[in-house]
Amino acid sequence: MAGYILRRLLQAIPVLLGTTFLIYFMVFAMPGDPLLALFGDKTPNPALLERLRQEYHLDQPFIVQYFLYLGGIFRGDFGTSFSGEAVSDILARTFPVTIRLAILALIIEFVGGVLIGLYSGLRKGKLFDGTALIVSLVFISLPIFVIAFVGQYVFGIQLGWARTTVSTGAPIQDLILPAFVLASISLAQLIRLTRASVIETAGLDFVRTAYGKGLSRRRIIPVHILRNSLIPVVTYAATDFGVLLVGATVTEGIFNVPGVGRTLYQAIIRGEGPTVVSFVTVMVLIYLVVNLVVDLLYGLLDPRIRYVK
């Protein structure tokens, strides 16, 4: 087990370096002088320019600048936003909201996906199954902002069941509609995955044996079929947690959820390049860490994974 953890951690290092390097390189390649942009139309004093250049290490070669930036990341310094607030402070304020939203979405995704997928798979070829297949395909192909607007229009404006935007403090009842929207595409994927897995398991010999022994469907379905179909489903849902955390940009923006995603959304809308880059870096790091943790937990739960190279 220790070997597995060590190997998995070592594997994460090149990916971590590579992703931050790529993002930093893209910013470095940005046309125009960032310092001149600070002054707008005015021509700055060359001495001041020189001092600023030294202060921000812009006179150093690219690779030195990259390592300075990487060192900052390790100390939790992700830079400052356009408004002058430290990115780490903004994170401390907004990340809990995003986590709450992502957990809510994950619950909706998992419960809905497993229940609908199981029922669909057991009634393969029936009307419910056909409908579930087509509806899930439609959801997979809908862009998330379309789902968000339709949700806002139908449940917020027409039916009046939910608030179209989240009120301050982001109480749970306000987050339900955004969580459904955020979960919808993954939910559709999970329905299809559960269905396929249930159909495969239901056709296996041990299920036939269970029927042959005269066990009731009430025992066979949850114990024999469902439990054995859940392995790929749980894998998908677990890796999807990272996607839900970083994929909430559009949803949080539209529903005005005060999370990390909305901060990024607003920075994008306002064209605040450096802030966008800091937040994308943060999100990529979150995504990497979540996936790493999920992988490590898997090694803990399923011994087979530890031994596969």
Partner: protein, 316 residues
């Protein structure tokens, strides 16, 4: 050995040399069959295939010749007095906030979405096939290097990467740049699928036979391995065309996509979002056009996957 080509109707010995005609003459060639023919036979029986094929064809025709479908100019004939106006006889879907014809803008925006989809797909296929084929076929250190490079690109969600690229190159926003921004981080999934398939195909007897008779590695890859492992790539590619169209719309929606002067469904949806309450038609129709197009590509991908994968066929 005679230089007469062997007829496909006998495998043991030439017919004229043996009296056991009835046993030898098994008619193997009667019903020609291979993966692609089987797949086509399966696909053409499914209504989903025809529905998506017709939609895709329609989208292509609209993109190539928008003027066949509407005579209203999308930009030049806008009147602010029509702002967010309801549908009239000539303007069947109503007007946008700027007083432009919604239907005409949708028709003229089609080519943008389709070109981004196609360019991204070409880009991801070329990169994905290059990386996947070399990594899977040659293995060893080349595989390690190429796969780790793929991991790095795969670890950055491609929408976030595209947001950064488009923010950085804000001065050069056009169809090519946005396609590049999406495609440059979207190829690892193609590469992974192809690599896995090549690892499987590489073990086949015919590959070993080709090696035994001294065919060069590159030729084995091009002639034997690649054609036999391309099927899953086609599935991924079809689906990714739809995904690329969604990505373009999302970026345009976020305001880092194409400039407002370029007609695109994403831009129209983005512009309409503030009027969701009082003019839902300006938002709903472009969204519908976008969703139907993407649905058609994803449906096509599903049909192709089912047709090429016997296991998936059994689950229907």
């Amino acid at each position: 050995m005679s230089n007469k080509p062997l007829s496909p109707t006998h495998f043991v010995a030439p017919l004229e040399e043996t009296p056991l005609v009835a046993i030898d003459a098994v008619n193997v060639g009667e019903r020609k069959s291979n993966l692609w023919i089987d797949a086509w036979r399966d696909m053409r029986r499914r209504p989903m295939f025809w529905v998506s094929a017709v939609i895709i064809l329609l989208v292509v025709v609209v993109a190539l010749a928008p003027n066949l479908f509407t005579s209203v100019p999308p930009n030049s004939d806008c009147q602010l007095s029509n702002s967010n106006g309801a549908p009239t006889g000539e303007h069947i879907l109503g007007f946008t906030k700027q007083g432009c014809d919604v239907f005409s803008r949708i028709v003229h925006g089609t080519s943008t979405s389709l070109s981004v989809g196609i360019i991204v797909t070409i880009l991801t296929s070329v990169l994905g096939i290059l990386f996947g084929a070399f990594a899977g076929f040659y293995g060893g250190w080349l595989d390690a290097v190429l796969s780790r490079a793929g991991d790095i690109f795969f670890s950055i969600p491609y929408i976030l990467a595209a947001v950064v690229i488009m923010s950085v190159f804000s001065a050069y926003r056009n169809v090519f740049v946005i396609s590049l921004a999406i495609g440059i981080f979207a190829w690892p999934s193609t590469a992974r699928v192809l690599r896995a398939e090549i690892l499987r195909v590489k073990q086949s007897d015919y590959v070993m036979a080709a090696q035994a008779v001294g065919v060069s590695n590159l030729k084995i890859l091009m002639r034997h391995v690649l054609p036999n492992s391309i099927a899953p790539v086609i599935v991924v590619t079809t689906i990714s065309l739809g995904a690329a169209i969604v990505a373009e719309a999302t970026l345009s929606f976020l305001g880092v996509g194409l400039p407002n002067s370029t007609m695109s469904w994403g831009n129209d949806i983005s512009a309409a979002q503030v009027d969701l309450r009082n003019a839902p038609q300006t938002l709903i129709y472009p969204s519908l056009a976008l969703s139907i197009t993407v649905l058609a590509f994803i449906m096509m991908g599903e049909v192709v996957r089912d047709a090429l994968d016997p296991k998936a066929r059994a689950q229907r």
